[in-house]
């Protein structure tokens, strides 16, 4: 089963190619170039896009534009090649890459995206109360290192790959393959204009 997995929700986006459970390759990329990374991975492994059998896409949370770049590509590919698509939350994939950790994604606006009791939330970093010794990973953990460490959490060195969203973990977590339109973005925030209207 040749699987393409991608996640473009964070600035350091990722694309991976797997044959069954075997990782054939993985690349870090900019969101807009994610299909260039996919093309290189396929070429290296001696395949072409037509050989793909299923797709896995990170659904966020993260950059709204980034999430859409990945999902538009994944849905477009699924439609064109009649492939099943599965969505995996970027937070879950990040945690899978550092077992037992708390994933923390930079949400800009002085906010972070994280899991609280296993569910995705947007909150302020000061609101996080990690149990002492909790390993915090992700670009949000790097950005708010001082705050998290002061609260007793552990944050790996900035250069640690544990902070990276890596698409091989999306492939590992993907279970529900199905029609592309059922895989939805996980924005966690409504547009500012809607908030303003509600007021």
């Amino acid at each position: 089963m040749l699987t393409l997995a991608l996640d473009t929700a964070t600035p350091r986006s990722s694309c991976a190619l797997l044959e069954g459970e075997k990782l054939l390759g993985e690349r870090e990329t900019k969101a807009v170039s994610v299909l260039a990374a996919a093309d290189a991975l396929l070429a290296e492994a001696g395949f072409s896009p037509a050989d793909l059998e299923r797709i896995v896409c990170g659904t966020g949370p993260g950059s709204f534009t980034g999430i859409r770049i990945g999902l538009a590509a994944a849905r477009g590919l699924a439609l064109t090649l009649a492939l099943p698509l599965a969505g995996v939350s970027t937070l879950n994939a990040l945690r899978e890459g550092a077992p037992g950790s708390l994933p923390v994604i930079d949400g800009s606006r002085k906010e972070i995206f994280t899991l609280i009791e296993g569910r995705p939330f947007v909150t302020r970093p000061e609101q996080l109360a990690p149990a002492p010794g909790t390993l915090c990973v992700g670009d949000g953990a790097v950005r708010y290192r001082a705050l998290l460490e002061a609260a007793g959490a552990e944050v790996p060195p900035d250069a640690s790959e544990l902070h990276l969203v890596r698409a091989r973990f999306h492939a590992r977590l993907a279970t529900d393959f199905g029609p592309a339109e059922l895989v939805e973005p996980l924005y966690l925030r409504i547009p500012d204009a809607e908030k303003a209207l509600e007021r």
Partner: protein
């Protein structure tokens, strides 16, 4: 066969055109209602809706033309100018479709697209001609020398004509986007009732920002009953001022470059008074004036396609690069 995709603003659109330039499908899904309550297009709201609509719109274009992805030769997509987040949805989907089938991709400039609406039947225009491109974001006078090469003769120094229509419509309580509604209302009014100033500039440039201020003052002086009574006259007079400015400048430009043919494209080209005033010109069909993918498909016929994987890193651009 070319599949074209357009998502630069608040229309999600897909079209199919064959080698002879014949349209096989032209699907436009407008988000206007979604944005009406905000009084304008909200980029994030538009981008979210594009993601929901892009695949269904492409599929319905294929269904309408009774075609499959295997029958495509190329994919074309609007690269800019427009809302970056909105453009990137179309670009990303277009890349995926083209790459999936190993096809070339043609990035198309949205403004070239508006002009290329004129190349389609039944107008079937060929360069050279002088083009008034008047839309929601642009008001350009272009010396169109070849299908894809233009010389810029004039532009607006502030608001675009479509923007002036929309702002005027809002002041008159016509909602958003109000250009077409203002056009309808103006038909019942007297265009000589009010005299709105049109800025006199040297050269071939436009300025419309003074106009909306003049309308604001005219509206402010009226109580609501009076406004209701004079609304059609205000609309007619306001529209007349915009159209007069557009027509005058266009004729001056035509004279200056000795143009034998004048053409009008872009959303405001749908305006009935402008169409009457420039009846001798080539006019884009009304349904191809506002944003659509047929015009992008038309432009793509004259552009050099990019081969895979050369286009896989393609990014969007926000502002005018053309001419």
């Amino acid at each position: 066969m070319i599949l074209a995709i357009e998502t630069s603003c608040d229309e999600t659109a897909a079209a199919l055109i064959d080698d002879a330039g014949r349209l096989h499908a032209n699907v436009v899904s407008s988000q206007a209602e979604l944005h009406a309550r905000f009084g304008g297009v909200v980029p994030e709201v538009a981008s979210r809706r594009h993601l929901e609509l892009i695949c269904p719109v492409v599929q319905s274009a294929l269904d309408e033309a009774k075609l499959t992805f295997d029958q495509l030769d190329r994919v074309a997509v609007t690269q800019g100018p427009g809302l970056i987040g909105a453009l990137l949805v179309g670009i990303s989907a277009a890349k995926a479709i083209a790459w999936g089938k190993g096809l070339p991709l043609v990035p198309v400039d949205h403004l070239l697209g508006h002009v290329a609406a004129l190349y389609l039947e039944p107008v079937g225009l060929d360069p050279p001609f002088l083009c008034l491109l008047t839309s929601g974001g642009h008001t350009l006078l272009l010396d169109v020398q070849e299908h894809t090469t233009f010389r810029l003769l004039g532009t607006t120094l502030d608001d675009a004509a479509g923007e002036a229509f929309d702002k005027g419509a809002r002041l008159l309580g016509l909602g958003y986007p109000g250009g077409a509604a203002l056009d309808m209302l103006a038909r019942k009014g007297d265009s000589g009732a009010y005299s709105f100033p049109v800025a006199r500039l040297d050269g071939l440039d436009f300025s419309f920002s003074g106009l909306k201020t003049a309308l604001l003052y005219a509206v402010r002086g009226l109580d609501s009953a009076e406004l209701e009574r004079r609304r059609a006259d205000l609309a007619a007079s306001y529209q007349h001022a915009i159209v007069r400015a557009l027509v005058e400048r266009t004729l001056q430009a035509a004279e200056k470059i000795g143009a034998r043919q004048i053409a009008v494209a872009g959303g405001v080209a749908a305006n009935s008074e402008l169409r009457r005033a420039l009846a001798g010109a080539a006019l884009a069909p009304v349904e191809l004036c506002t944003d659509n993918a047929a015009m992008i498909a038309s432009a793509a016929r004259y552009l050099k396609p990019l081969m895979p994987p050369g286009y896989l890193g393609l990014d969007a651009y926000a502002s005018r690069q053309l001419a």
